[in-house]
């Protein structure tokens, strides 16, 4: 593998909650010892349900929040060791596109200002050639120069997301974090935006860190996929490896839960996972998935599984390869 653009090592972020004078503070285990590398031009996806810590992971990477421990090495340099002044020029390298383009664009700025602001802050180009640069960026994302003087409310959701993408690209980042980039868009627009992201990656060689709950979509556009559950990666694999067979029961459940676009197959046996995500404040002992896992045994309750190499991917399950959720699927709920 080529040198990674960014390397995350044992990243930990716990949020304190409900601490008081008389009460021991408790912690939300948002991100717990997560490691991965992202190579140039690669798309790495983190998939999981709400509350699994995927957005916290993105925020740590951007240093919008500070991780408790671990390392974020950008081209070999640990971002967590830099102070605010030294960090600022590095921020240019990592940009983000948020889920909701209605919330992520300042309603008082014109489209020109939205994109020119990061250029100005990072001292890219001069005042004279900035309009041309903004127009070029907008063109890259399929927005005509006539939109430069308009405000976000005059644009559709799809157009706004294109503007948000142009803003992220403006400072020529090496990595763009895509946090659910299409899930708030209309169906007919989602494919347009996904295709745009693929084209931009081909043109500029950017690396994407994609954060999503949509496993089928992620599978289409990612090179590698990590499945996250309660703050930890439970399975990390190449797209094709995962497509061929998921080994962790939670990954199997995510695949099984995704609706299929064929009513004729509706009657098929389906593995519906019972229960809800446990609270991340006091995550289950041992394997965090054991409270919802139909294969859970005593060992799973007592001993946390580490990520280990099984069938060409990393998976954190004591019985990886031996268990298959879909095999015991019934239309009734799978429960212990």
């Amino acid at each position: 593998m080529t040198e990674p653009v960014v390397e995350i090592v044992d990243l930990v972020k716990h949020y304190p909650v409900r601490g008081s004078l008389f009460r021991k503070p408790e912690f939300v285990h948002a991100v717990d010892r997560v490691s991965f590398r992202l190579a140039k031009g690669e798309t790495f996806a983190v998939v999981g349900e709400s509350g699994c810590g995927k957005t916290t992971l993105a925020k740590c990477l951007l240093r919008l929040i500070d991780a408790d421990s671990g390392a974020i090495r950008l081209n070999g340099e640990d971002l967590l060791k830099l102070d605010e002044t030294d960090l600022r020029p590095k921020r240019r390298a990592i940009q983000i596109v948020f889920q909701d383009p209605y919330a992520s664009l300042d309603p008082r700025q014109t489209i020109y200002q939205v994109i020119a602001t990061p250029l100005r802050l990072h001292g890219i180009g001069n005042r004279k050639d900035r309009p041309q640069r903004v127009a070029d960026l907008l063109k890259q994302v399929g927005i005509g120069p006539e939109y430069m003087d308009r405000h976000p409310h005059e644009l559709s959701g799809g157009q706004r997301q294109r503007v948000a993408i142009a803003r992220a690209l403006a400072v020529e980042p090496e990595i763009v974090i895509l946090d659910e980039p299409v899930s708030s868009l209309d169906m007919s627009i989602q494919a347009q935006v996904i295709n745009l992201l693929i084209r931009l990656q081909d043109t500029f060689g950017i690396s994407y860190l994609m954060i999503s709950h949509n496993l089928p979509l992620v599978q289409h556009i990612s090179d590698r996929i990590a499945v996250m559950y309660l703050g930890q990666f439970v399975e990390v694999a190449d797209r094709d490896t995962l497509k061929a067979r998921a080994l962790h029961p939670y990954t199997q459940a995510l695949f099984s839960a995704a609706p299929e676009l064929d009513p004729a197959r509706r009657a098929r046996k389906k593995a519906v996972l019972a229960g809800d995500l446990p609270s991340p404040i006091d995550p289950p002992t041992g394997c965090r998935f054991h409270t919802r896992c139909p294969f859970s045994q005593e060992r799973c309750v007592n001993e946390a599984p580490e990520l280990r190499r099984v069938e060409g991917r990393d998976v954190a399950c004591h019985f990886a390869g031996e268990v298959d959720l879909t095999a015991l699927a019934t239309d009734a709920k799978v429960s212990r």
Partner: protein, 325 residues
């Protein structure tokens, strides 16, 4: 099989400062007893407005039902007085919403909220209504219903709240359940649970269901019949299996093609170019014409009417129904 809901030529307008918007344009559809029909389309296509019209919940002003009839078991809901429509809401026709946190009242217990409808509509004494609430919570798969009935919405997880809202909707044994994006706000594993619950309840209780959704996956999982809307108009209707196998309208075809990504080994997804037209600037002919790969001269001038193309199938598209030279 008898017809439980029959909507004929429903037209709903919204007056805004920029002009009048035709939110629903001469929509006709029906639901038979025990049937599940999905109304699918993108934001602004008129699907939620249609659902709200059935319960007469369109805020007036700015909205107004300007034409058509909505027959529920033969009674025109649009001609009922305010008291009469209230007796229908929650009793004969119930509704569940996308966000249970918005639909449930945070200061009342789950039990009180389920009991309210029972006391109001069925004149049940409070103690008996609470007992029934426990049964309903058990029916929708909430563990420890006797304990949960005394809890508040914030004590429940998202999936549990959605189940509690379903229990509330089913309390008075409605004949028709309107489900407006019932799984859009929940996670994928919870979505699978809720869809399986709705399928199961619907079969057990024999009620009809109108499912409003933008998600073709949800349609495929639940609906027997599907109605596709685009910019206020119905563009296609048919049995779900047939529509997914052989979509007739280019819009339906485009949506399915872009959604079916896993099966494709191509790098790029199939996309529908352009955007939904502004409600203030509708094309003169077919609403989909500016984005349609099959459009020809006539599509720019006339809006195609719905035509029957088979048993239970309709499509509003010149390219689909006419043999062109």
């Amino acid at each position: 099989m008898s017809r439980i809901l029959d909507i004929r030529d429903l037209t709903v307008h919204f007056r805004t400062t920029k002009g009048t918007v035709v939110a629903v344009d001469r929509l006709s559809m029906h639901i038979d007893d025990g049937e599940t029909v999905a109304l699918v389309g993108e934001s602004g296509c008129g699907k939620s407005t249609t659902a709200m019209s059935v319960l007469r919940l369109i805020p007036d002003p700015p909205g107004r039902i300007v034409g058509g009839n909505i027959l529920f078991k033969g009674t025109n809901l649009l001609s009922l007085g305010e008291d009469e429509i209230r007796a229908v809401r929650g009793r004969r026709i119930a509704m569940i919403f996308q966000d249970p946190m918005m639909a449930l009242n945070p200061v009342y217990t789950i039990g009180d909220q389920i009991a309210e409808g029972l006391c109001l509509h069925l004149k049940m004494p409070k103690a008996k209504a609470i007992e029934r609430a426990v049964e309903l919570l058990a029916m929708v798969g909430i563990p420890e219903p006797g304990k949960r009935v005394r809890e508040y919405p914030h004590n429940l997880s998202g999936g549990m709240r959605q189940r509690a809202m379903i229990a509330m909707a089913l309390a008075c044994d409605p004949k028709l359940l309107i489900a407006d994006e019932p799984t859009t706000a929940v996670d994928v594993t919870v979505q699978a649970q809720i869809l399986s619950l709705l399928r199961d309840l619907q079969a057990r209780l024999g009620m009809a269901m109108l499912l409003i959704t933008h998600d073709l996956g949800v349609v495929a999982e639940v609906a027997e019949r599907v109605i596709v809307m685009y910019a206020g108009r119905k563009v296609e209707e048919g049995p779900a299996e047939e529509v997914f196998r052989a979509p007739a309208h280019p819009y339906t075809e485009g949506l399915l093609a872009s959604a079916r990504l896993a099966s494709e080994n191509e790098r790029f997804l199939k996309e529908i170019p352009g955007t939904v037209p502004s409600p203030f600037d509708m094309p003169p002919g077919c609403n989909f014409e500016p984005r349609c790969p099959k459009a020809f001269g006539k599509c720019r001038e006339h809006a195609p009417a719905l035509e029957r193309t088979g048993s239970g199938r309709e499509v509003a598209c010149f390219a689909a129904t006419e043999n062109r030279p």
